[in-house]
Amino acid sequence: MKVTFKKWHAVTYWHWSVPNQDDLCGICRVSFDGTCPSCTYPGDSCPLVVGESCHHNFHMHCITKWLQTDASKGLCPMCRQDFKMVFPAGIDNAREHLGMVLGDSNNNEGGHQQTEPNPENGNQDILA
């Protein structure tokens, strides 16, 4: 028997590579695959970061807001260790976005530039 595919409908989904998929961002309490409160599209435009020594994850926009306050003293909200932001491997655009957030923070609060998530650039785990 010969089978001829007339149409092919592929569906993929992605999620951030974090130790526990059910965990929430400790600041906004939204899942990591969702966005911080200032963003509309999850993915590269609202990336995750991890603390170098404590390994706690946050939406980059959430933790940046916290670390920019004097009260934070540069500490992780979860464990009060020094929080050194590390961009997990594969999150290429995070650094660029951080520059944008810090540069904008004076007069454009909450108005992060949006880009459509692009599942093809390999920045997230892609599961088919």
Binding site: G26, I27, C28, R29, V30, P37, S38, C62, K65, W66, T69, A71, S72, L75, P77, M78, R80, G110
Partner: protein, 149 residues
């Protein structure tokens, strides 16, 4: 209020919670404004039947900034860190705050602070403080000097 969704989530949990001695009461002012009635059952300093009322107001910058928290009502609990105007000297309400804490965790901390209290007295500078204290305790410059109580 950027973090409105977080407050909505907290509201759902607070309404479902059952913690002995704590009763979370929503107000008509909105999801950022709560009363918490606290009963202390196992400390002879306090009448177990009496509920002390705590007022918690989360501002626009919550949870990046801590909420405003104070005791209100006729009877303010006696405690060396609680002033007679209801203001509380507690580091997590000021520079010990982190956004990982919540309305629930604050209420629990204050409940356990009263539960563990052994001194039936006001802070030594009570009179001086309340004579010039601002309305909002967050505007006071607190010094946290006593980790033992």
């Amino acid at each position: 209020m950027a973090y409105k969704r977080r407050l909505l989530k907290e509201m759902q949990t607070l309404l479902d919670l059952s913690i002995p001695g704590l009763k979370f009461i929503p107000t008509e002012d909105g999801i950022n404004h709560w009363y918490v009635d606290i009963n202390i059952v196992d400390n002879p300093i306090y009448d177990p039947a009496h509920a002390f009322r705590l007022e918690i107001v989360a501002g626009d910058e919550y949870p990046i900034e801590p909420p405003m928290v104070k005791f209100i009502g006729q009877e303010i609990p006696l405690h060396p860190h609680v002033y007679s105007n209801g203001h509380i000297c507690l580091n997590i309400l000021g520079d010990g705050w982190t956004p990982a804490q919540s309305i629930r965790s604050i209420a629990l901390s204050i409940q356990s602070m009263l539960q563990g209290n052994t001194k039936n007295e006001r802070p030594p500078d009570d009179e001086r403080y309340i004579s010039h204290a601002p309305q909002n305790p967050r505007s006071s410059g607190w010094v946290y000097h006593d980790d033992n109580v």
